[in-house]
């Protein structure tokens, strides 16, 4: 486990399933509601690298979907936004934090994958006319789901806090590099894993890996791509030469090897448990409550996401 690992219940405790299901609002479970100042501290995790930890929670009416680790990297020629935020309001907050610290132009915004908690802040940066970088499959993924996510966020947050769907202007099909003058960001477009549009990057200045949601720490991973693919991409992340990483959810910076080990641990249990259920003719509706149950205490928001993960895994593995 990483140095930052703490029992998941201290991370603004994930809602129990019953509460999570109650119209998706969990007002009774979160110890701090809304945008408490201490939750929104930006930390400098490396030279010129600033990250804000996302709330360990689902999107609610009070939290602007600020549930992912967002941040920026200041280079000689400009600023690169590592994750844009979960809503226009969240993106605006991030942009204000950038402007407080530097006059340099915001030249690049990374759209790490299709999920709304990572890309709906992009609307706040359109005024900067940056390059919006995304996986080659991100455009089709946003085409299929962008409007759905937008409508759901409008229901939760209102139109003025939600923002538009922003599409990438630069597509990465395999690898790419961005030069910020005194540091380079090297991007990798991954095969289907967490989603079908996962993009990671490494900063040459610090050696830090930004795997986005290919890495969850302490908060349960959500499977929305390919389970076997994710395990493969984890192996790939190990070859990129980084020892520390900024995960998509969890502490702002972690030692990579133990964090990947914990993540693989969960995904392997999910895979093997689902395969065993399929082999024993355990039907999908029963598998969702039995598979990976032993991992429950290790992950915040387990009850909200594990059953769905099993559903996705079952559909993937039953054709093996």
């Amino acid at each position: 486990m990483t140095a930052d690992a703490v029992h998941p219940r201290t991370f603004g405790a994930g809602p129990s399933r019953r509460h999570a299901l109650f119209a998706g609002l969990c007002l009774c479970c979160l110890p701090t509601l809304g945008r408490a100042a201490e939750s929104f501290a930006i930390e400098e995790v490396g030279p010129g690298i600033f990250v804000r930890k996302g709330l360990i929670a689902d999107a609610t009416a009070d939290n602007d979907d600020a549930i992912a680790n967002v941040g920026f990297i200041v280079g000689k020629t400009g600023v690169l936004v590592t994750e844009s935020g979960g809503s226009l309001a969240d993106g605006r907050w991030l942009r204000a934090e950038i402007v407080k610290r530097t006059d340099k132009p915001i030249t690049h915004v990374v759209l790490t994958h299709v999920h709304p908690d990572h890309v709906f802040g992009a609307g706040a940066f359109v005024q900067d006319k940056p390059v919006f970088i995304g996986h080659a499959k991100l455009t089709e993924a946003l085409s299929a789901r962008g409007e759905f996510y937008r409508k759901r966020l409008i229901d939760l947050l209102g139109e003025d806090r939600t923002g538009p769907v922003v599409y990438p202007t630069m597509s990465v099909a395999d690898t790419a590099e961005i030069d910020l003058g005194d540091r380079r960001l090297t991007f990798t477009a991954h095969g289907p894993a967490h989603t079908t549009s996962d993009l990671s990057m490494i900063d040459s200045g610090s050696g830090l890996l930004f795997p986005a949601d290919l890495l969850f720490v302490n908060r349960i991973p959500s499977l929305d791509g390919s389970l076997r693919g994710w395990l493969t991409e984890i192996e790939r992340l190990k070859t990129l030469g980084a020892t520390r990483a900024v995960p998509g959810h969890g502490p702002v910076a972690v030692d990579l090897a133990p964090a990947l080990a914990d993540l693989s641990g969960y995904l392997t249990v999910l895979r093997d448990g689902t395969r065993a259920a399929i082999a024993k003719d355990v039907p999908i509706e029963k598998a969702v409550t039995s598979v990976a149950a032993e991992q429950r205490d290790a992950w915040a928001l387990f009850d909200t996401y594990n059953g769905r993960n099993v559903t996705v895994a079952y559909q993937e593995l039953e054709w093996e």
């Binding site: 998706g24 999920h115 085409s143 299929a144 789901r145 759905f148 909200t304 039953e318």
Partner: protein
């Protein structure tokens, strides 16, 4: 809420909430509870309307023994809601129909059982588009109808986009697997039939083209043991993509034949050797 039974999309309130279905990521639990505000009275009236359009003036009596529906009260994935229909083993049941009252095409599936069937338990996966009552209606050998009901909370199952392009979704269309559970000699065999087919509902929008992917779904499936029918299924867009059906049959050692067709003229046929009962 006005609804139209059948497939006429033009009259559907397409304000139906999109995608809590294949979308497995965030905001899934936030789906608007379409249909949640309907009263018992409204639901009962809707059922009367549907039952009449399907079964005409035939009487349908309530039952709690001739068929039971097992469905999750709240679906984890509206585009893949697992349903179990349990019926008595004594051969009384001739056919069972599943109706999802508030779906755009409510008549989800009909199974007619043949001489090789063991109808006791049937499982299938469906799409649920609104919070809704589901009804199972069985027909007994003497021609009488009986119904059971279950309420399910889910929305957007019919309009949930696939997680991939249409081309990818159609890869391997018509491929099948048939898995057999362990069995003892003389006992019915439980089997799981898997058919690769996107079952496009016709309500899934491609945002790039702004067009709906045309409905393409399995409309007929026939399973036989040798030359005796196990069941014939008539299906519609409420059946989830890549259909998986669990059923039981009385083996006679002969191969199991599965024939499938879809509404766009696709035709597929496969033959499977049943396991020999272990001694």
């Amino acid at each position: 809420m006005t609804h139209r039974i059948g497939k006429t999309l033009s009259t559907l309130g397409l304000g139906v909430v999109l995608a809590t279905g294949a979308v497995s990521g965030p905001l899934v639990g936030m789906a608007q509870a379409a249909g949640a505000s309907d009263t018992e009275h409204e639901r009962a009236a809707r059922w009367q309307e549907i039952a009449k359009s399907i079964f005409g003036d035939r009487q349908i009596a309530q039952t709690d023994s001739l068929v039971k529906i097992d469905a999750p009260v709240r679906a984890l994935d509206a585009a893949l809601v697992p349903i179990t229909l349990t019926m008595p083993k004594d051969g009384q049941i001739k056919a069972v129909s599943l109706i999802i009252d508030d779906n755009p095409a409510p008549y989800a599936a009909k199974f007619e059982f043949g001489p090789a069937a063991d109808p006791a338990e049937l499982k299938l996966r469906v799409r649920v588009n609104n919070y809704t009552d589901m009804h199972a209606v069985v027909e007994t050998q003497d021609g009488k109808l009986y119904e059971a009901k279950q309420f399910v909370k889910a929305s957007g199952g019919c309009s949930a986009p696939m997680g991939m392009s249409d081309e990818e979704a159609m890869k391997g269309m018509g491929d099948m697997r048939l898995k057999f559970a362990e069995t003892a000699p003389g006992k019915p065999v439980e089997a799981t039939l898997m058919v690769r087919h996107p079952n496009f509902s016709g309500m899934q929008m491609n945002q790039v083209t702004r067009e709906y992917t045309p409905a393409r779904y399995i409309d007929k499936l026939t399973v036989s043991a040798g030359d005796r029918t196990v069941f014939t299924m008539t299906g519609d867009i409420s059946i989830a993509s890549n259909p998986v059906i669990n059923f039981a049959f009385k083996p006679d050692g002969k191969p199991i034949q599965v024939a499938a067709s879809d509404n766009q003229g696709g035709r597929w046929q496969h033959s499977f050797n049943p396991p020999s009962p272990t001694n």
